[in-house]
Subunit: 459 residues, 2 copies
């Protein structure tokens, strides 16, 4: 593990979102964070104050007042980065933030890189790499489940699982390596059967973790969903009904800006992300090749299909045929009968044969709760206990878990072939290396850069 | 003065700009701010901590962790609002902010109205009304001068001037009212000559303040500027050169979002706001009525005109004629000769007669500093000492100053006509009332609502 520990300088960045707010917060971290702030602060002598205290005063550039501020002090190691940290809470104007940062740069700080505060927190042992990554996930979380999974990972749930697996492997690796020291004497400190059992057990756990990624990905990135159906089946009406209801829920707390979300809805904590089906609308009832191809392409990007039909303008046979035609890949597919308020009981009864069908009247907003419930069940989260189960959401972790699994396969093969201890030990070390990448026991500068540059500035 | 003191409840709002950032800050103010936060906080008992201290812990909704946070405590009266204030610093996700605010609302807070924190600060005597208004100006400030003027006002510079005037008038009003008590005895406690001198002096000061508004308005809202000239004189090139340079300056501190500013440049702290002259470009060299009318309309909205001409495609006589034609209202007008790199010294010499002309080569960026200097001089800030002089930037204050001035005219008239003490006293009280409106000694709920609803939520 090689770390380029460039934490001997003091970094500065704005920590709050840009734009106009009541306040903005500028954050400094590094050995000189407090002393540099003190040179531009008029108030109490900051270098003589206790950690976790707040001080009112002014930031001045050679006598000229830039702002009245509150300065919060965190003295090493009792801070996020475990270095000296200062947070300057100023008026929420980009102009003022810019003036203060410029002044602090002049006094010897440098602008922080993206994620550099969290990187320093990791390098200084505040938390491991998987936890650090969860900080970014937490900030990006926009649904109850993505938030919950990120929070659990940040608080070390996932790391604990990985570390336990690692500890067990380390035990065997050391036993085998001990044998190598006694190489001439042909002793076996490591019971081969016990090792095989352990490895099979670890592989089972890794398989569960890998399987959880399917779900983790859905939780983190939403469920790509298409609504298909003939023209006038009511697709737009349905989408608008779903979206409007969501928007109403969101907007009852001011200050949240989710206007950019036009095609996402959140049901019971799961985000359903609607793939634009504009190109589909006029083509699903035509057999022309191009239309079908485009439909299929859109469908192949989705994880869930809603097939919407107008009960007053369809037959059960027709619907059944469409359901099969649309879904060669056997994705989760939800048949939804629309305009049931305009159909006779006899007509509705005729559709009873369609498996798992939901009946709605989109324009009236009738039975939308049934539809939502069915959507949630299709995603198959019903079986999940997010409180207890660890869920992998990060592609990097998937990659490392796969590598670990493959190395453990090699260990098993080696044991089966009666390979010598040093070769088995090498494969175990390879598995340990890959596991260690997840929590950051094993890192490289490239890996760290790759992770932290995805963070925002100031975090 | 009637205040509806609804400060017995506890308010909550997000205090930082919306959007993704490293952190967001949620602010509470009111008697229960600390105790309510304590019900959702897992960490130290917040009700037993000192003011101006920071505490790490988690916000929990019935055991479920919403976020890891830092809680800052400000115990009344040592806070912005002089009430108990809590600032919760959480991860900068709108989702998390929303969850925490929802939870706090459930526990007995209510959402703050726009500007309600600052309104409470005013009502609780933290500062006067002119200072409170300056808080909003400060947040909106986007240039060095607008920032400086707002800062000075927030720190009480303007208020001090107004209060001094008021104190002097109050003295005379009380003397005259004393005479009324001795009405039968025909005594004069208030020296009428001295009063006249005082009022003339106050009127002089008010005139200066009113005059400063012309400048104050420019500082706060920018100088509306048009660039006119024949097609191909280089107007777009010049504007781009000025804008690009500005953008480069701005963007060297990340996190500032000024992308929306397309037609503003900032020179020596003054904002020049360019009025869209798209409609002008093809019309200035035509005498057709519509073209001229539109040109003149645009020009009438501006405070400063740049007349740009191509030295290789104009004669001094032509330029002189245009300068007069374009400027019937005698606005500050700056003649700018472009493409001087393509002209011979003889040609340039021919233009020497044009008063105050600046010579540039826009495409090459040559002499742009001369142009900027000339623009700044045209705005006539050269004579201004912003450090010492009080500058009025608020239309409401202008209105109150005008009313005060008129009331003082009535006082002078009354004195001249030898009017009785009670009538003179009534006019003085009217002047006092108007002055008092500025600093908020005199307010109404309507006035306060009008002022504070313009603030952002959370301030």
């Amino acid at each position: 593990m090689i770390h380029n520990l460039t934490t001997n300088d003091t970094i500065v960045a704005v920590a709050t979102a840009p734009g106009v707010g009541a306040i903005a917060v500028i954050r400094l971290s590094g050995p000189e964070a407090i002393s540099i702030t003190n040179t531009v602060f008029r108030g109490k002598d900051l270098t003589k104050q206790a950690s976790h205290t707040i001080h009112f005063g002014t930031i001045r550039d050679e006598g000229k007042i830039i702002d009245e501020v509150l300065v919060s002090l965190f003295i090493a190691p009792h801070s996020y980065t475990k270095e000296n940290v200062v947070e300057i809470s100023c008026h929420g104007s980009d102009f003022i933030v810019q003036q203060i940062i410029r002044l602090l740069l002049q006094k010897g700080t440098r602008l922080a890189n993206a994620g550099e505060f969290t990187k320093r927190a990791f390098l200084n042992g505040q938390f491991d790499l998987a936890q650090a990554e969860a900080v970014a996930d937490l900030i990006a979380s926009d649904s109850a489940l993505s938030h919950e999974v990120a929070m659990k990972q940040m608080r070390g749930g996932f790391s604990k699982d990985i570390k336990r697996l690692r500890a067990e492997l380390v035990h065997f690796a050391s036993m085998i390596e001990l044998e190598l020291d006694f190489g001439e004497e042909d002793v076996e400190f490591a019971d081969r059967d016990q090792l095989r059992t352990l490895i099979l057990n670890i592989q089972r756990i890794i398989r569960d973790l890998l399987k959880s990624f399917e779900l983790g990905n859905v939780i983190k990135n939403g469920v790509p969903t298409v609504i298909v159906g003939k023209p006038n089946a009511g697709k737009s009406t349905l989408l608008n009904q779903l979206l409007n209801e969501e928007k109403a829920i969101v907007s009852d707390v001011p200050g949240t800006t989710r206007d950019f979300i036009e095609d996402e809805i959140n049901i019971e904590g799961i985000t359903f992300r609607f793939i634009d089906t504009a190109g589909l609308r006029e083509t699903t009832d035509k057999v022309e090749a191009i239309g079908v191809e485009r439909t299929m392409q859109k469908l192949s990007q989705s994880s869930l299909i809603i097939y919407l039909f107008d009960v007053t303008d369809a037959t059960p046979e027709e619907v059944q045929a469409e359901l099969e035609r649309l879904n060669p890949k056997k994705l989760p597919l939800l048949p939804v009968a629309n305009k049931i308020d305009q159909a006779s009981p006899a007509v509705l009864a005729a559709f009873a044969s369609i498996d798992g069908m939901v009946q709605i009247a989109a324009a009236e907003g009738a039975n939308l709760d049934d539809l939502k419930q069915a959507l949630v069940e299709k995603v198959n989260l019903g079986k999940l206990n997010t409180q207890q189960q660890t869920i992998v959401t990060n592609l990097r972790h998937v990659d490392s878990l796969n590598k670990t699994y493959a190395a453990l396969d090699d260990v098993l093969n080696g044991l089966g072939l009666g390979m010598s201890g040093d070769l088995v030990a090498a494969d175990i070390r390879r598995a340990l290396y890959s596991l260690g990448e997840i929590t950051g026991e094993i890192t490289t500068d490239d890996l760290l850069d790759n992770i932290f540059t995805k963070f925002c500035i100031g975090k």
